[in-house]
């Protein structure tokens, strides 16, 4: 016998069904993202570790030797995959550009929040936001047409090298670091400043002893974020660094970074060969470094919260 009331009580209502469907849809979308992350790690690691497991390159040799010629083998019969020139190049441009960019970015952020909030808000903020969005190849092109000739005329050499890379990355991470520093300074509560001023401190004393101190974790996050962008930047650096896989003698001799070698080399090697696997090991190194930067940012954020 058919009973409508019994049916409606025992069956799921329309709302319940749509609720379940919604939960499944949104969970699937999230699962897709997690799956992508896991598969990036799986594929890059499986390719990158092949250098050490199937081509028998010593991990320590990979990190400390300076001859990069993974297509040919050395006297022990393993490929000559010494990544030290690229590692030095990558860390060199990253650290140098962060060292130059940090004072500029923090000073500008102080100017925008403490000294002249009005001008800061009206002029500097829109401009920095715009510059964050400029594509990196445009920075590379400017580097090629302005920075490289400038370095060549001022310091000699070809102009290509770590110095040119540093300048390009400095300008590139400047807007990002600045706008994150502004956020960090704005997060300092207003009554900190009022308390300090009420104690008779000058504006600079307030900035230096109160505002900067309490914003330190946020500022450090901004700088490390800038460094992680600089470390992973590929094309802009590749265009100005000179692409010579040699240990850099000075700041104006052609050099290379992990990303520049990857950009240049991946298309010229055969999938599965030792030369190709060695490139994937560089990609794995990049991946691990971006994990390290991520970890640092999380650590700082946690300490800042207490």
């Amino acid at each position: 016998m058919h009973d409508d009331i019994k049916d409606s009580l025992l069956k799921k209502s329309r709302a319940t069904r749509s609720e379940q469907r919604g939960r499944i849809i949104s969970l699937t979308c999230t699962a897709i993202i997690v799956l992508i992350v896991v598969s990036i790690f799986y594929f890059v690691a499986s390719k990158g570790l092949a250098t050490f497991f199937s081509n028998k390159v010593n991990v320590w040799d990979f990190l400390s030797k300076s001859i990069w010629n993974p297509g040919s083998t050395d006297s022990h019969g393993s490929p000559q995959a010494g990544a030290l020139p690229m590692i030095i190049g990558s860390f060199g441009v990253t650290l140098l550009s962060a060292i130059i960019a940090t004072p500029f970015a923090i000073a500008t952020a102080i100017f925008m929040t403490e000294i002249s909030p009005n001008k800061g808000y009206k002029i500097l903020q829109p401009v920095t936001e715009l510059l964050v969005g400029i594509p990196s190849v445009v920075y590379g092109f400017i580097g090629l047409s302005v920075v490289v000739p400038f370095v060549r005329h001022t310091f000699g050499g070809t102009g290509f090298g770590i110095l040119a890379g540093t300048f390009v990355l400095f300008v590139m991470i400047l807007p990002t670091v600045t706008s994150m520093s502004v956020d960090a300074l704005r997060a300092v509560p207003r009554y900190y400043r009022e308390a300090s001023l009420a104690l008779g401190a000058t504006r600079w004393q307030t900035i230096y002893k109160v505002v900067l101190r309490s914003a330190t974790p946020g500022l450090a996050t901004a700088v490390i974020f800038g460094m992680s962008r600089a470390f992973g930047e590929a094309l802009a650096v590749q265009m100005v660094i000179g692409n010579a896989v040699l240990l850099p003698h000075n700041l104006i001799s052609p050099a290379s970074t992990l990303t520049s070698v990857l950009t240049m080399g991946m298309g010229n090697t055969v999938m599965g060969s030792a030369a190709n696997n060695a490139l994937w090991s560089l990609a794995l190194l990049l991946l691990l470094m971006s994990l390290v930067f991520n970890l640092l940012i999380n650590k700082i954020a946690k300490r800042g919260r207490i």
């Binding site: 709302a15 319940t16 749509s18 919604g22 939960r23 849809i25 969970l27 979308c29 999230t30 897709i32 993202i33 997690v34 992508i36 992350v37 896991v38 990036i40 594929f43 890059v44 390719k47 500029f104 000073a107 500008t108 925008m112 000294i115 002249s116 002029i123 401009v127 936001e129 715009l130 969005g133 400029i134 594509p135 190849v137 445009v138 590379g140 092109f141 400017i142 047409s145 300008v171 400047l174 401190a201 000058t202 600079w204 004393q205 230096y208 992973g232 590929a234 094309l235 590749q238 265009m239 990303t259 950009t263 991946m266 298309g267 999938m271 990609a283 991946l287 971006s290 994990l291 991520n294």
Partner: protein, 295 residues
């Protein structure tokens, strides 16, 4: 020196550095537009590129950029909205959620060249798509998803809890509350994030050189059948975008007027970024007015 003098000196230094910063930023913008705009003409925007002669344009590259952007957004918008809803409405405070959040963080901080190489390995080689618009769009989706998701989640989180309670009190399910009440209210924020994300995707090159490829075969703009090999809509053809083009002609150095073409193309990219930026503000204000009835 006493503290008052220090104050004056420090303020002076801060003014100076901020001034230098403004100069650098202004120089960048003026340099690009000043050098590039004289080369931009209707002819430049519509003719195909020439490899060995002067006078080539960026027509095909420009079309490829927009088509790739469209496909990438088509894939990434629904996924990011779904994931954003899950994280803001359904996720509980437990290890699984923190694992998901960590992996989104990691994905957003990955260098784009690593994303590009992953796309090359998985989409171009293993899935057999080759250098094609489709594998480029998928790589851009990977690159774009974490930031879009975070933006959707933040926009949804900014809606007050009382709106959700109101929806539930009216007998709507949670999902219906989200779809009918929360998302419309959060739409301005979501749209702004999408447009800014589109601007980023538009200028991305490193993720594309090994997925969408570095060549732009001639297109037949009279045949729009997506299965025809020279059709502009064919998703399986290689497609060099504007940003990749700038990189390519500068690092190869065989095009005689590479400097002029890249100056013009850079100006076009910058103008596109400007349009995306202002468009984001304008549209979000319009959507806000429409959704809230304030206008």
């Amino acid at each position: 020196m006493n503290s008052k003098k220090w104050n004056t000196v420090a303020t002076g230094i801060l003014y100076f550095i901020a001034g230098v910063m403004i100069l650098i930023l202004a120089f960048l913008l003026i340099f690009i537009l000043w050098n590039g705009l004289p080369h931009v003409s209707w002819h430049f925007l519509t003719t195909p590129a020439r490899s060995f002669q002067t006078g080539g344009g960026i027509g095909i590259q420009l079309f490829n950029s927009f088509y790739l952007l469209f496909l990438a957004m088509l894939i990434s918008i629904p996924i990011s909205i779904g994931a954003g809803i899950y994280l803001s409405e359904y996720a509980k405070q437990n290890w699984l959620t923190s694992l998901i959040r960590t992996s989104i963080d990691i994905l957003s901080s990955l260098p784009s060249i690593v994303v590009g190489l992953f796309g090359f390995l998985v989409f171009s080689i293993q899935a057999g798509l080759g250098f094609s618009i489709l594998s480029g769009a998928l790589a851009l989706t990977v690159f774009n998803l974490p930031l879009l998701t975070r933006n959707v989640e933040e926009s949804l989180n900014s809606i007050s809890e009382s709106q959700r309670e109101a929806g539930l009190a009216l007998g709507l399910s949670k999902w219906e509350t989200v779809l009918r009440i929360i998302i419309p209210e959060a739409l301005p924020g979501i749209v702004t994030g999408m447009i800014l994300g589109a601007g980023r995707v538009f200028g991305e090159a490193a993720a594309l050189i090994y997925t969408a490829g570095q060549s732009a075969p001639a297109l037949d703009f009279t045949n729009w059948n997506p299965f025809y090999i020279a059709s502009p809509l064919n998703p399986l053809r290689p497609a060099e975008t504007l940003a990749v083009h700038i990189w390519k002609i500068n690092s190869e150095g065989i095009m005689p007027d590479a400097a002029q073409v890249s100056a013009g193309a850079s100006a076009v990219l910058i103008i596109a970024v400007l349009i995306f930026n202002f468009g984001a503000r304008f549209i979000s204000a319009r959507v806000y007015g429409k959704m809230t009835g304030t206008k």
